[in-house]
């Protein structure tokens, strides 16, 4: 069974479920798999981390209420913590977890700021400091991607859009 994970969402799956994500531009998909327990998690993140300055801005500003950044699972930083929490609650062992990164493209090279690259380097650092093995990557470039994560085997297939 396929379950679609939209931008800013996290899903966990057991046994013969597949997690899929599409429209991965500069977003970064992070997958965790415990191959021994056959448990997987997928996060479709948009940005590296909540910026500190964001917290100290005028709290009365109405605009914050509808800000697209209000949800924590949109950030690789907090999403990784949340994924670990959920996957460990299902019985996964941290030392067995294998992580993969997909996405982080620079969709509009003509525009300033490469959010994709920021996403990739941030997630790599964070995984390293959390002690999680990074076993595969399909990242960067300027093409969008879609992907499927076959949870029981941990296999990830990626389609690039040309």
């Amino acid at each position: 069974m396929d379950r679609e994970v939209h931008m800013g969402e996290i899903e966990v799956a057991k046994d013969d479920e597949n997690l899929v994500a599409s429209g991965i531009g500069s977003c970064l998909v992070i997958t965790f798999c415990d191959p021994k327990q056959k448990i997987g998690a997928l996060a479709h993140t948009m940005l590296p981390a909540r910026r500190m300055s964001f917290e100290v801005r005028n709290p009365k500003d109405e605009r914050r209420k509808t800000n697209y950044k209000s949800s924590d699972t949109r950030y690789a930083d907090t999403a990784i913590d949340e994924m670990l929490k959920r996957i460990e609650a299902l019985g996964a062992k941290r030392e067995n977890i294998e992580a993969k990164l997909i996405g982080g493209a620079n969709m509009f090279p003509a525009l300033k700021s490469d959010i994709g690259e920021d996403n990739i380097s941030y997630a790599r650092e964070k995984l390293k400091s959390a002690g999680i093995k990074l076993v595969g990557e399909c990242v960067g470039g300027s093409q969008g991607r879609s992907m499927e994560f076959f949870v029981p085997s941990g296999i990830v297939t990626v389609k690039m859009k040309f």
């Binding site: 429209g23 969709m107 969008g144 879609s146």
Partner: protein, 118 residues
């Protein structure tokens, strides 16, 4: 033409058109917001910025059935309302407000990039 209203968002051809145009607006907004710091009182510039957000909002709302475009519409509308307040003198252009708009622009880049990846 798609058979019914609401299928634009699912049609690859329309999505491509939408992305091509949106990329131009993103570029113009980026340029305009950079100028706004140096010319905070320029009504012409604010009108121009308003027009880009307005058209982007309109284009995004045509793409019914695509939830990413629905998000784009929301953010573009939010930017447009703020720019209108600046133009009408209800709010003053400040570094903080330009940062807000740039933050929203960053969000738009991510979302348009996602539509381009589908």
């Amino acid at each position: 033409m798609p058979e019914k209203k609401g299928s634009f968002g699912q049609d690859a051809q329309y999505r491509k058109l939408f992305v091509e145009e949106a990329e131009k607006f993103l570029k113009e907004l980026e340029r305009g917001l950079a100028q706004l710091r140096g010319h905070p009182e320029s009504t012409d510039l604010l009108n121009e910025l308003r027009r880009f957000t307005h058209t982007l909002k309109g284009n995004a709302s045509m793409m019914e059935g695509d939830r990413t475009c629905a998000e784009i519409r929301k953010i573009a509308e939010k930017m447009q309302l703020l720019i209108e307040e600046l133009r009408d003198g209800k709010k003053k252009v400040s570094g903080e407000i330009v940062d807000f708009l740039l933050e929203d622009l960053g969000g738009l880049k991510i979302l348009v990039g996602s539509v381009a990846s589908k």
